[in-house]
Symmetry: C2
Subunit: 287 residues, 2 copies
Amino acid sequence: MKGELSAFLDQVRPAIDAALDGLLPVESAPPARIHQAMRYSVFAGGKRLRPALCLAGYSLYRQDLQAVLPVACAIEMAHTYSLIHDDLPAMDDDDFRRGVPSCHKKFGEAVAILAGDALLTLSFGVIAAAAAFPPDRIAGASARFAQALGTREGMIAGQVLDLDAEGRTVDEPGVEAIHRAKTAALISASVGIGAYLAGASGPDLEQIGVYGQNIGLAFQIVDDILDLEGGKDGERKKATYPAVYGLDRSVELARRFTSDGREAARKLGDRAALLIEIADSLETRCA
Amino acid sequence: MKGELSAFLDQVRPAIDAALDGLLPVESAPPARIHQAMRYSVFAGGKRLRPALCLAGYSLYRQDLQAVLPVACAIEMAHTYSLIHDDLPAMDDDDFRRGVPSCHKKFGEAVAILAGDALLTLSFGVIAAAAAFPPDRIAGASARFAQALGTREGMIAGQVLDLDAEGRTVDEPGVEAIHRAKTAALISASVGIGAYLAGASGPDLEQIGVYGQNIGLAFQIVDDILDLEGGKDGERKKATYPAVYGLDRSVELARRFTSDGREAARKLGDRAALLIEIADSLETRCA
């Protein structure tokens, strides 16, 4: 991560980590094993991109970031659940995640399945209990969250499309559909839920949704390029942008999505400066 | 199921099934595989005990049962998620559920993991969108639901305690703790969330909680006895009431829990007739 995003992440990460620590049951709470597994995966070194984006979306309209921190943490919990289940032997079968044993290698498959389930459950519980907001916004945020994680163009839809694609030739609309659902939906919802809880208007939320979808896609393309350069995913013939479009066109597409994202953010006026800086930083990760 | 409960289940099941049908994405909706798997497991012949208990709790205070139907269905979705994940090879490794292939045997492990995740996600989405209730009750119901499904004395806690117990000798408080968390928490929350959404008072909710915990335990004991008679669970040395207490004392305990549940229900006055009939019916399943 370069530039403003990196600075923003560094600035908010301590508060996010402290809030996650406060929201997750302590390791010693019985049954200890599940709480150890949940904490192990949540504190295994994530960048905290999604909760930071939630704070960024909120900060467009309100400055009391403390209020939205639990919701930002709920988003990170759900992201972590998706990584734990994604790494399972029946899914991507990854023994390592961020350089350390994945949850199922460390705690066994049964506990890993339950730790993912538990983080997903807790994420909704944390949103339901976010007392800083009027209850209608809590319910609205929860509905948006479920949508972004769900089977209709949400994260689980992306996982299924990804499974369907493995070992097959995927065309250009195919790879976009996968990544829109698998990655961009939750990234977009992160900014969107932050802005929604801060009271953004309907038209603003629409632009923020377009912004989030576009930077989500750009983020995924850059990730695929970095993974390719790092030697990952290629051997399993996953549907990635570089595999479908080649490297040069992938870089070009990442630029185009970033530019479309910036465009949408500009319609929000002066308050969009942080969102534009984030878009630029996400794109230049692979420059 | 015998008696009044059976009649009540027969009476409400068609409406529950129709509402589930309306809330679950259609099979043809892309990605079709996940929606097929979700529907397969939800419509594999459940008794609909938990949603019926939610309707029963609601009916103590209000008669417009239609309003609470989506929430009752959300509870059934979460129950189904727990069965799908429980059947996975890494968990109980059950190839059959209610006489048909379990979700992972029918759709593969990856889709079964995702179908469970998807039902859990959708269950919270359905509660968040339950428009018939004031938003503060929606948020409250969602928080109670997350608690009942969670790792602190909720369903996942029960699953972990159950895993910890497998192959070991479990003592009497141990088996009660497992079943309080694994079964009774969600059964109790089913009645409790129904009553809460209908506007039950705090003291009433407390009695309903005691009622639910007790009939939940009685239900589990009777289930264990029926399973033992049917030849299940014994060979895996699971922590069951008959295994720990023997058959006679298990029957006696089921009676005692039922009686404690009835006692709590009686404190609600005349409106508790249905709850008392349900308690009686659950107990006499194995008489």
